[in-house]
Symmetry: C2
Subunit: 280 residues, 2 copies
Amino acid sequence: MIVNVGDDFEHFGLKICPDLDTVCYTLAGLENPATGWGRRGESWRVMEAVAALGGPDWFRLGDLDLATHLERTRRLRAGRPLHEIAAAFCEAWGVKARVLPVTDDPVPTIVLTDEGELAFQEYFVRRRWQPQVRGFRFAGAESARPAPGVLEAIRASAAVLIAPSNPFVSIDPILAIPGVREAIAGKPALAVSPIVGGEAVKGPAAKMFRELGYKPSAAAVAEHYRGLVSHFVLDKADADQAAAVREIVPHVLVTDTMMTDSQKRIEVASAVLSWFGREP
Amino acid sequence: MIVNVGDDFEHFGLKICPDLDTVCYTLAGLENPATGWGRRGESWRVMEAVAALGGPDWFRLGDLDLATHLERTRRLRAGRPLHEIAAAFCEAWGVKARVLPVTDDPVPTIVLTDEGELAFQEYFVRRRWQPQVRGFRFAGAESARPAPGVLEAIRASAAVLIAPSNPFVSIDPILAIPGVREAIAGKPALAVSPIVGGEAVKGPAAKMFRELGYKPSAAAVAEHYRGLVSHFVLDKADADQAAAVREIVPHVLVTDTMMTDSQKRIEVASAVLSWFGREP
């Protein structure tokens, strides 16, 4: 599993990796289902005491979650690379899957907005994705190196799955790392649309499509991944777009993609993988 | 109140100032009477989660205490000086006294031991002051500048009080900052012996005297401060040393100095200050 690091930032002197942690917590069964981020059974004693000192509490760091950032920061400062730390944490949490940050280098996503450039978490959390988006920049991507194992993992895989994450700020920052797009090219690659019925299932994807001048739709997502993916899955609510999508991507599946609970997650994944395995 | 910063260190990427925090917590009534450090009503969720990741837990950082280190680190990285941060925290905690770190510059105490040089907290907390001491070094003291207000506070005071803290690792690192010793010179200055009955009331002071080749005693403390203090207070248990101490320091008070509870603290302080005010 290759994870975006464009969301990563420094806060209170600590290295925070929101995407990496959410993926690992979820695979470990430690995730907080109420928030969609952070840890289950979380408490907020540290943040409350920070707020009492007049410190910023717009980025909510739970007590358990803070431990991850503290120990990661300590290891980074001791010279260990991010991918090795992620592997060690996954082992400590009993995660069986291999989770790889796409790069060990900091490649922060910068959001170009009508108010100027904003660091990703400033835009996403502090400003609750309200500024109008003009584009994105992945700072330092051109000179970043894929983390050891990333290109090898892609090359060794029979196929690549692109999760129904935000194409602009979750998937593109992965594809921006030199070598990743090339490693995927020529492989069977499947994307699931994060836009259903013209809206994002979660988050600002539809709003971003609009602000960049596109009508948000499954077809717009397919167009975004043109040339990269061979297979595309759209929700049954968008069945009328299947023909249009087939002009962009050769193999198209229309199915229920709404993963509203963990049972539905398993069902959607099974249906998609079973089709992907059958399609040439 | 001018406070030692030689104990300060970086841990998990955070700036920890144990002496400064203990002084501020105590003045704020937030101190933990059970431990002698950290905060009252403390919890340990973060540290437990750090330990679950295999991180170091030899330096115990409580959840409430961590908030202090996080917010201080954030402000330092934003370019604010330590003395300003200390003043802001004191205001937030309702501390009326002025608390000044002796310098804004890092001047870490290095303990020279039979096992080589040890960073102070490695020696003091991790190794529980068990290595044999050969001497001390205050790294960078010669080029450190007193924090703004430190020399002015000393010069504006009618007299200087040296707390019954460890002379080697709590008081000497303050005196090592250029200008401090000179500002005290010529002023009425009073020290209270931290050695009572040949032993330290708390901590490694007596052990250090022995390892450096001196018999631990109130007289040895007076000798350590020779030329700096004009007034010296020793415990009634050491009354037999009063004559010897008078050879070193002109004004000597023998009294009960054991501050076993907050009532006794007030009584000892009152007795000492009242004598100090009367003595020429």
